[in-house]
Symmetry: C2
Subunit: 452 residues, 2 copies
């Protein structure tokens, strides 16, 4: 069967590629999962193109994998069963922008920075920040979040409506343009995070937020991880709407200092960002400073200008990026999320695993959410090092699930977390699988992901 | 078939009732939908009891309807196909309270006031406030919200995990104790708002929030509804985390004045509540006052003590309650939710419908969410008056769907909104129905609700 030929009856020639460059580009993401090339890459320009691609795929039982920016961290876009990859870069338009409703409808290929560029001049922002300049479609597909989740929640919390092309070619809207609804069953939440295994997203209606008038960044340190967690709890319980609240453990600060010749205080550190109306934000910063001092924090530092803010957060930002691009090394990231009270134990546990593994690495925590990452570096040519990183991940995930947590807080299941689905979800995993079976009986939608 | 006898093999005698009083109590809710009695009422004391009830129901294809506090507004608990009603009043325990995680696991029969009583002394609150002292199970089942949704979202946004007994007797957990997750498919959101048609909720794990240190209430008026909506937009776009923001239109204020011999300024009124850390809240109140003045508001009034706050909000509170208990009258509530920019038009339209209907009534709006209610009174003995109220609802819902809104923002579908499901959800309604068919092939779970 010549898929390319079949697709050519439905799309323009320029919308189909089988060049080595394109096949390679669509064979991997930013994870360490092995690359696999698709048979063909399509570049739809409309929902109708996607429908036509699905029709070909369905008739011929060819796998279909959606591709955004390739910035994923769990191999979601790797077409493990080959077939058609749909690249959404030509579907990156704003379909409808309604500033007075703080709402926008976009195509899935728009990236979060492109989106913000479009709306910032109206005093609005889309604040979900996973770090990478991911596409909005990809962020929906993995239920991404990041440092602002403590304030705004994850992608699922931003969505009003999705337009979805189902495996059988039907096109549905999962919601409306109303900010809340108790009508029907909540399909929006179900398709969010389903990683292209239940349907292909072709339009997304998002809630937007106001751009804060004023931002203050601050930092402090504590002698123990337990005190960091207690401090984070105190802030949450005081109902202070922090914009970001991040933990970096002392060992990681030390590594950052060595890496960049910095002199950050080597202690467990909490990083804060306060954002909103000036007077309110100033009041928040003062209150949090007082709370932290009551809990015996040290090294409180605070800044309002962009440059000074960046300086304060430098140790946190360096953590996230410094390790990623060392020559000949690949990185392995874990992504567990646990009840906040378990965070100190789990961070301790992760630190020990990291040290015992002999791998270079660091720990970053979205401490207000109980979500943290270990980043560990392994030699790209050394299979044994890679296995050590994977064993560490296994141990961390099992511990997280044991204490009531999840194997993935924000990166998604993809290839790496499939093996934990039954353990984490129990019998519910069978219900999930039955939904997959119902909506995609021929298993053509991103096969080999989430459930095998 | 003698259901009572079959149930007696599984439950204690005291857990089963067929007395006229109990059958009547479980025949209705607070809506105007006609009463229907169940065949038998059960009072489970554990998940196992619920499982046993489901087993009897499934074997004998007997309908099962879950009942919380009976405070619903769309007839969700009315057992239109008779059968077994499960009353959760004996399942109202706190199973696990983890203040340091701001998280609690409860049985579905606990009411929101009981829950708050349990947790308030730890400085924590469960802020979702639909007005009535509903059970948490009922609030999950209908995806309830209310005046604090502008700050905290609706029930769906509060949930970490549900324990569900499925029609076939399987017991699943839809989530974990982690605050966020990208693992598996999101079943928590799907079961929330499914009104007992997909499974029976037996445990609920909720996020909790800190009790605000300080509260300020305020009120102001505007010459037009458009200006009220613009003012609400300005507050939202300024990223000010108001606790409540409610609209009462001028005609409704006039009615409240006449009803209670009050002297509130007869103009379209916005009611605010600010809550949080004292300094931040004071800053918010000042900022909003300035914003409102820039928009030519009048009659700004503000209060901090409980008594003074209640005084300021009196017109709003009177609206909600005064109309409800007039002798010989029943009330009919509508519940549309639309994009905020459409709110002035829709409120205008509703006011005209109300005036043309000749029925007494008022309009309340959760203006930050685009959700508003008309309350209209009709003579309980006068079928024609009731039909007028229903026609008004029809016209409002069609208009709401036309502008991209929903037939129900927070009351749920139940009996009253079934007829709009296909119109609102289009082809997605068929996907929803296929989920129902998959999970409840014999249609024993609250049959005759959401989808016919």
């Amino acid at each position: 069967m010549d898929i390319e030929k079949l697709l050519k009856t439905k799309l323009e020639d320029g919308q189909i590629s089988v060049t080595e460059t394109e096949l390679f580009r669509h064979s991997h993401d930013e994870s360490a999962h092995p690359s696999i090339t698709p048979d063909v890459v399509c570049f739809p320009e409309s929902m109708n193109d996607v429908k036509n691609i699905m029709e070909v795929a369905q008739k011929n039982r060819v796998p279909v994998t959606a591709y955004g920016a390739g910035s994923g961290l769990e191999g979601q876009v790797i077409p493990v069963k080959k077939g058609i990859t749909i690249n959404f870069e030509r579907m990156n338009r704003v379909i409808d922008f309604s500033p007075e409703d703080m709402m926008i409808t976009v195509e899935p290929g728009i990236t979060r920075l492109q989106l913000n560029e479009h709306i910032n001049r109206f005093g609005l922002q889309f604040p979900i920040d996973p770090g990478a300049d991911a596409t909005i479609g990809g962020m929906v597909a993995t239920n991404a979040s990041g440092t602002t989740a403590v304030r705004y929640g994850s992608m699922r919390d931003q969505l009003l409506d999705l337009e979805i092309v189902l495996a059988d070619g039907r096109v549905i809207h999962t919601g409306t343009r109303a900010k809340k609804s108790s009508s029907g069953y909540n399909l929006t939440g179900l398709f969010t995070g389903s990683e292209g295994t239940l349907g292909i997203i072709t339009k997304i209606t998002l809630k937007l937020h106001g751009i804060p008038e004023h931002i203050i960044a601050s930092r402090c340190t504590f002698p123990s991880l337990e005190q960091c967690a207690e401090a984070a709890y105190t802030v949450l319980a005081s109902d202070i709407p922090v914009m970001r609240m991040e933990l970096v453990d002392a060992s990681s600060i030390k590594q950052v200092n060595e890496f960049g010749d910095y002199h950050f205080p080597i202690a467990h550190s909490l990083f804060f960002e306060f954002a909103g109306a000036k007077a309110a934000v100033e009041a928040q910063a003062i209150l949090v400073k007082e709370l932290m001092e009551d809990l015996n924090s040290e090294h409180w530092d605070e800044a309002t200008t962009t440059q000074a803010r960046n300086e304060i957060w430098k140790a946190r930002h360096q953590m996230a990026y410094a390790f990623r691009h060392q020559k000949g090394k690949r990185f392995f990231g874990t992504d567990i999320c646990v009840p906040i009270s378990k965070l100190p134990d789990l961070v301790h546990f992760a630190r020990e695993l990291l040290e015992n593994s002999g791998l270079e690495g660091g720990i970053l925590g979205h401490v207000g959410d109980g979500n943290f990452h270990t980043l560990s570096l392994f030699d790209a040519e050394n299979e044994e090092e890679r296995e050590r990183a994977e064993r560490m991940n296994d141990e961390l995930v099992l511990k997280a699930i044991e204490v009531g947590g999840t194997c993935t807080g924000e990166h998604g299941v993809g290839l790496g977390k499939m093996k934990y689905q039954r353990l984490e979800h129990g019998e519910a995993a069978e219900v999930m699988k039955s939904f997959k079976q119902l909506l995609d009986p021929d298993n053509i939608l991103n096969p080999g992901k989430i459930f095998d």
